[in-house]
Symmetry: C2
Subunit: 247 residues, 2 copies
DNA sequence: AATAGCGGTTGACATGGATCAATCGAAAGC
DNA sequence: GCTTTCGATTGATCCATGTCAACCGCTATT
């Protein structure tokens, strides 16, 4: 099978995708829908697409017409300033939605990049609005998802505005751990898909500071790190680190 | 007129509020609606309420059932950590919406405090969802407003994550200036409604740093400050300060 | 008009994290 | 299998911002 072309037409695009038999439905947009409703939204998802590691799902400035549900894989979203400074605005995993920022201006306002080979479902936004006029549960859940994104952003603002480096990294690890758990992965052991630099950008720190904080956590027995492989040895310890203003 | 009671029943609550003759309609939720549609949403806004300076519109933890449109005045929203640290997540002015964060969990996740005597319209959320199933324009605009909030939050993350103190303050002043303009106020001269400490909390800085940055801007002729009274003398200068990484 | 109190300004000093630089180690390409 | 390259680690030093403290000057209250 050839695999060098820039934008290959993956056979997956032709496969009929069905929310009704997707095992992520309880994490994703269809959450809370009845069986009957589930079947009605099956044709909401028009396309399934593979995105290779390093490729963009969309770029800032492109016109917006769909939001994307992650079926498998891992993404980052980032915003670039003219002078080259980058801010990673989030890391997204299976079951989470990408592209909500584009609704506002009908143009994407950030870049979405796959951090590992991934697979997404495209949800044409016009269709979603039509269907959510008919299915109250869908409408309400969509509003909740957007609101949850706002709450998450406030959490990041809190982190960036009030926490010190080690508190930020602890919060970050605990957040990842919790989201992996919700997806049936280990609470305490996982591979990071992003570089120290990307973590740093997200947390408002330089990569060296992130690296040092990892080493410190290891010295103190909170975690075991080997490159991107993380084992959390003392969840309570990390939590304590966040709450008390101990130095 | 007595005015010492804690929660006085203001006569305004009884006045029939009408979006159709509100002069903020082009900034607020009814944006883009036809005359006919405008009249249909008039009974969306159930209550008008006055909030005195320093009073809460809502508090974190309270159950959510309405979003609020600011008719007049000025608010801040903030999140408090258990250890007392505060993060101001935003400043809101006339025509802007408050409470979107509450949709997610059906509980408010932050506090909304009036920074001057203010007046709000309560929009019961269930009603809004019902009506937006019938009026496409309303549905679409509401989605845009939520998305805009997400984009705004990403801007703040960028600010907190990548900018230095003076860049942050410049960005803040330019943002305020632009929003005042949209409301028909002066581009270049305004009163701040918040303290240095609140600005600092929003920008992830200590109040002393904010104060010093104001003084620096004044020395360099970008602005004239006297307490809360600000005059911007050199908009281009402030913009340049943000873009170039000059130190 | 006098006074209390809070918000703002300014200075001196401390420090957390940035910066610069060298080295190491793992993964990828030849 | 060897080499190249990129990401991670660690050390030394610097600097922007935080911290502590004194003082100033509005504004509001009596």
């Amino acid at each position: 099978m050839p695999h060098g072309s820039a934008q290959p037409e993956h056979p997956l695009s032709l496969i009929k995708t069905a929310c009704s038999n997707c095992n992520l439905r309880e994490l994703c947009l269809p959450f809370g829908l009845s069986l009957e409703e589930l079947e009605r939204i099956d044709d909401l998802v028009s396309t399934r697409r593979r995105i290779k590691r390093g490729d963009h799902l969309y770029r800032a400035g492109e016109t917006f017409d769909a939001i994307y549900a992650i079926r498998a894989g891992f993404f980052k979203t980032d915003v670039l300033l003219e002078d080259g400074r980058e801010q990673v605005t989030g890391f997204q995993m299976a079951g989470e939605l990408l592209g909500l920022d584009g609704i506002s201006t009908e143009h994407h306002t950030c870049n979405a990049v796959a951090l590992e080979d991934s697979e997404i479902c495209a949800i044409p936004f016009a269709k979603l609005e039509t269907l959510s006029r008919e299915i109250h549960t869908l409408q309400h859940h969509f509003h909740k998802v957007m609101s949850r994104e706002i709450v998450r952003d406030h959490g990041v603002m809190m982190l960036l505005g009030t926490m010190r480096a080690e508190e930020r990294l602890a919060a970050f690890l605990l957040n990842l751990s919790q989201r992996f758990t919700a997806r049936g992965f280990s609470h305490t052991e996982f591979y990071l898909r992003m570089t120290r630099e990307e973590i740093g950008s997200y947390l408002g720190l330089k990569l060296e500071t992130v690296s040092r904080a990892f080493s410190k956590f290891q010295e103190e027995g909170y975690i075991a790190v080997q490159q991107k492989h993380i084992r959390i040895l003392n969840v309570a310890g990390l939590k304590a680190l966040m709450n008390h203003r101990t130095c």
